[in-house]
Symmetry: C2
Subunit: 240 residues, 2 copies
């Protein structure tokens, strides 16, 4: 039976980290948001899934009777099924630790344009967003990206991958982080990239994989936009 991914329609968002894993593996999956009635079905599950399975927010994955919420949790579940994580249990937890650092970075990226509240428009929190983005670009972004560069360089199985000697879902997520950050903060990211040769090489290697190339060229890949996590507000970026 096909896996079904539920997420908001119209944005890559957090769902994209899951889509990339499904696409790289050639998995049989349904992207509910792109189906007629998919969003209504998603909202219904968010009310009526029952007990602990009720998700707080999308994305979530349904596999038969099982409903799994949160990106890192979905990827932890899918990783061994899609061949996108080492089989060793310890390394699976190590991969999950990296993915949860990706999760934290994604939340900080979101909060550069929403430092006061998700229920408010960006236009209602622009001065605060300006201060938060400045702090993010000067301190947090170099710290996170430098961390991932360090992880790759220290991999005993080679700097082509973050965990183990083969492509994992963490590598796919790092690819998407670079993509999104280049969209949202092109000037600031360009200034960082010279210090991140290993991370950029990983990004380029992922972009060149046949299934990822085919996915990126398809209409299944939604473009970044200003309803997403990665938003291009030039006033929040560095000057060019």
């Amino acid at each position: 039976m096909a896996l079904t991914l539920y997420y908001w329609d119209g944005i890559p968002g957090r769902g994209e980290f899951v889509r990339l894993a499904l696409e790289e593996a050639g998995a049989d999956y349904v992207d509910a948001a792109r189906q007629p009635g998919g969003t209504a079905a998603m909202l219904k599950l968010m009310k009526d899934a029952g007990g602990a399975a009720t998700p707080f927010a999308p994305p979530f994955l349904v596999d038969g009777e099982l409903l799994i919420a949160h990106v890192a949790n979905i990827l932890f579940y899918l990783g061994p099924r899609l061949g996108l994580v080492p089989e060793d249990e310890g390394l699976r937890h190590v991969a999950n630790g990296l993915q949860l650092t990706v999760t934290d970075l994604v939340a900080e990226i979101h909060d550069t344009h929403h430092p006061i509240g998700v229920s408010l428009y960006y236009e209602e929190q622009k001065p605060e967003a300006s201060r938060r983005a400045e702090n993010f670009l000067s301190e947090r972004l170099p710290k996170y990206l430098g961390y991932f560069e360090h992880v790759l360089m220290q991999n005993p199985e080679g700097p082509q991958h973050s965990v183990g000697g083969r492509l994992s879902y963490v590598d796919l997520s790092l690819f998407h982080l670079v993509e999104g950050l280049r969209y949202a903060f092109p000037n600031a990211v360009r200034a960082n990239e010279e210090h991140l040769p290993t991370l950029i090489a990983l990004h380029d290697a992922v972009a060149a994989r046949p299934r990822i190339m085919s996915y990126l060229a398809s209409d299944r890949r939604l473009p970044f936009n200003e309803s997403c996590i990665f938003r291009r507000y030039p006033e929040l970026d560095r000057p060019s």
Copy 2:
């Protein structure tokens, strides 16, 4: 061999969610921060753990050769070993999904006093903190706590637990959330509690468990303070 928990000294912080699980299970563990040289050992591991095992931030757990970072990941690993999660793989992912919602709430609580940047003092971001806390207390807190109340009430095995029919690490984390929120926002939380009878009953049941009672009365339990995630700044709470 004993498990070793590494975390910042002097605060309950994120480490507390792990400590509660270890204490409830009567596990043989070392709290590195409370040992001579523990903080130095932690900082060394954060530089030199090697490859993907290098943690971005505490807390992390060391079990023999394995280093596991992030609270939810540590609890996912410990859950079956400590008997604090259902054995079924699907339910383990369901529990992990709930724990990741706890993680998100903890980050939002932190950001009520640090909406602009972790590198700045609270005193450098007080106007923004005031706006963020107002939004948090009026919208986010009721949404999160109402969600957990709903999860408990819908549990097919009874509202005494969040997942399955026995105590899990998620229940312990929900106990700590109530503890921390009562400390940080006593007025706002009091106004919410009448709508959360099931969550408060769970809190009280956890507080009455013999090992938890004994832990809370011991000097292993650090008091909340204004260097922690849960901070009591009366100007961010509702008026009494």
